[in-house]
């Protein structure tokens, strides 16, 4: 176990997240334990409502555990205050969503500059960094465009560029191809795979498409009713 820790990017130990709605308690995530190694490409599978997004938000430091602990890049999220969590989101993880979540009133360049502003990156080299990020996802010619002027695939690629702005070691993707047609979805998946393989970014991707997991992920976590029901590791 101990020699493994250095190689582990994400580890959940009996992680739970319950919501109380009046009298009722919704057990969105219950007693989930797993680990993902550094540089691994993992998929989180399960039917709608099984708790995938809730778990991802917990890993992203956007939500707080009801019980258990989560350690990412050697840091225990359950002990962090909100300022430390914000720092963690800023520098350690990148997040992309099914609905892209680009700020619609900002150009692509301005969207990608946002995390650089929060990280207080020096203003001098910032525009160059933005252009570099856009070039990496093949969108340098779209820098001045608003998100609504772009196709879904382009928007998701811009969102990936934004997620990578501060060089995170972990990328969390919540159904990144869910809103895309198969050709655009293919493009986005290729990009994620390249990031994983060429830059060594650990990727955890939520999907309800088992074939996608089979093609890209080395490890698949299956959830149902908030619990982790199985973990499948592909043969080397």
């Amino acid at each position: 176990m101990s020699e493994q820790t250095g190689a582990v990017a994400i580890e959940a130990r009996a992680a739970s997240r319950f919501y109380t709605m009046g009298e009722a308690t919704v057990r969105a995530v219950e007693d989930v334990s797993f680990h993902i190694n550094r540089g691994e490409f993992a998929a989180l599978l399960g039917p709608s409502g099984s708790g995938k997004s809730t778990l991802l938000n917990l890993l992203a430091g956007l939500d707080r555990l009801t019980a258990g602990s989560i350690v990412v890049a050697g840091r225990d999220l359950s002990t962090m205050d909100s300022e430390a969590l914000a720092r963690y989101r800023r520098l350690t993880v990148g997040m992309i969503f099914q609905s892209f979540n680009l700020v619609p009133t900002m150009t692509l360049a301005d969207n990608i500059e946002l995390p650089l502003r929060f990280a207080e990156t020096a203003r001098a080299g910032r525009r160059d960094r933005v252009m570099e990020l856009l070039t990496n996802v093949g969108l340098s010619h779209r820098a001045g465009h608003k998100p609504t002027e772009l196709s879904g695939g382009e928007q998701q690629r811009a969102a990936i560029a934004r997620a990578l702005a501060n060089n995170p070691s972990v990328l969390l993707a919540d159904e990144p191809t869910g809103n895309l047609d198969s050709r655009n979805g293919q493009e986005v998946m290729t990009l994620l795979r390249d990031l994983n393989q060429k830059m060594g970014v650990t990727v955890l991707m939520v999907t309800h498409d088992p074939s996608l997991a089979e093609r890209y992920a080395r490890k698949s976590l299956h959830m149902a009713d908030g619990r982790l029901v199985s973990t499948v590791e592909a043969a080397q």
Partner: protein, 435 residues
């Protein structure tokens, strides 16, 4: 987040809801304008009143008398008249040497006969000190003031001049004769003699108003001559008999000296020094104290009224920012997901509030100044119609300009507290789920 980024983002957000933010900013501008307008009026009125009162010479003057003369006055029971020295030439010199003292003049007044064009009138003549030339009433003299402190010239009360000639302006430059009683030193120190004398004077000016002075308020003089001329004439005065019956008559003493200061600022110190010399001193300074209090209260009320509009404007800021929080729920969620801290989000809304406050404040001061100019202009048209000189009732001091803008920013930031806290508290998971 660094400040420059904060204000860049704030400016961007405000541009995205241009109409709403412009309207709110205008609301602040109107609020600040009303505050500036009210306070400028208060300050202007105060300045106007001060100016008028200072010109009257009232507050530049201290009246000094010996307590020996107050022995019978019950209300001065604690004055200890026996300790008070004589108000003689030595005392006069001493008072003249006090800092800020411009002139020390005795009260000289005497009944006399004035001959003009064959007719004679019995009237009170009085000495007018050189320093009186700055007084408002003297500034409005028809003709001119005395050419020198020892000139043989008179100023006449206009009503008195009418007695001499139905067309009073016609007497200017003409000569009149004053017949008066002159006091002459007697053979011994316990006597003096009185002799009738005559002296000719040139009429140089007519007065519409009574010049300000001590006893002149009670017994109004009609004919004014320079105080030094009057002193040289050795006019027999009512106090002379009182002095004669005193145990130690000796040298000449004054019943009252009028001390004129370079400015009202010296009055308090001079009054203090004179009292330490065991003389009795009186000035109208106490009256200014209550006047200053009055204007402080007036300014406060005007300020409260002026602030009402700004208070309403601050509610508009609260409203605008709450709308922005609701509208930008998802955007706030995105920013938090990208690593913005609660403090960053809070600061962003404060920056927006402060920007509105700054722009609104600057516009408001400009607007308030324009309103002031307009009212000043209107007032002066009215004053002109009433044949009165123009007055500046409206003063916007630089401190008020800066203060109003700072106040507007402060009020705006205060108004931003609740919306900013609400934005910072927003749960990013909920905000991103929301569609």
């Amino acid at each position: 987040m660094i400040r420059q980024d904060l204000f860049e983002l704030a400016a961007r957000n405000m541009r995205n809801a241009r109409l709403r933010n412009a309207l709110t900013t205008m609301g602040i501008a109107v609020g600040v304008a009303s505050l500036v307008a009210m306070l400028s009026l208060g300050i202007g009125l105060q300045g106007f009143a001060n100016h008028q009162l200072m010109k009257s010479g009232m507050f530049q003057t201290v009246f000094v008398s010996s307590r020996q003369d107050m022995r019978n006055m019950e209300e001065n029971a604690d004055a200890k008249p026996e300790e008070s020295p004589a108000l003689n030439d030595d005392a006069r010199k001493q008072i003249s040497a006090l800092p800020g003292v411009e002139e020390v003049a005795p009260e000289v007044r005497a009944m006399s006969e004035v001959d003009f064009g064959g007719k004679s009138n019995f009237t009170l003549i009085a000495g007018l000190p050189q320093s009186a030339r700055e007084e408002d009433s003297i500034e409005k003299v028809k003709g001119r003031f005395f050419s020198s402190p020892t000139a043989d010239e008179v100023l006449l009360q206009r009503d008195f001049a009418k007695k001499l000639d139905p067309n009073p302006d016609a007497v200017l430059g003409k000569t009149l004769t004053v017949r008066y009683a002159q006091r002459q030193s007697g053979d011994t120190s316990s006597s003096f003699s009185i002799e009738r004398k005559e002296k000719q004077f040139v009429i140089v000016g007519l007065l519409d108003e009574e010049p300000f002075g001590g006893m002149r308020m009670i017994s109004r003089a009609r004919v004014f001559i320079p105080t030094q001329t009057a002193e040289a004439m050795n006019l027999m005065q009512p106090a002379d008999t009182q002095q004669l019956v005193r145990s130690s008559p000796g040298a000449r003493t004054y019943s009252m000296l009028t001390v004129r200061m370079k400015s009202a600022a010296y009055a308090e110190k001079v009054e203090e020094s004179v009292k330490q010399m065991h003389f009795s001193a009186y000035s109208y300074l106490d009256a200014t104290k209550s006047m200053r209090r009055f204007f402080a209260v007036l300014d406060m009320f005007l300020g409260i009224f002026g602030s009402l509009a700004l208070a309403v404007a601050s509610l508009a800021i609260v409203n605008t920012l709450i709308m922005a929080v609701l509208e930008r729920r998802r955007e706030i969620g995105i920013m938090k997901a990208l690593g913005a801290s609660d403090a960053d989000v809070k600061k962003l809304f404060f920056a927006e509030a402060a920007t509105m406050g700054l722009i609104g404040g600057a516009l408001g001061v400009t607007l308030g100044w324009l309103i002031g100019r307009a009212i000043n202009f209107g007032t002066n048209i009215y004053l002109h119609k009433m044949k009165m000189p123009a007055e500046n009732l409206w003063t916007v001091p630089p401190l008020l300009v800066v203060g109003a803008i700072v106040f507007a920013v402060l009020v705006s930031v205060l108004a931003g507290i609740y919306p900013a806290a609400r934005a910072a508290k927003l749960d990013p998971v909920q905000a991103l789920r929301y569609e």
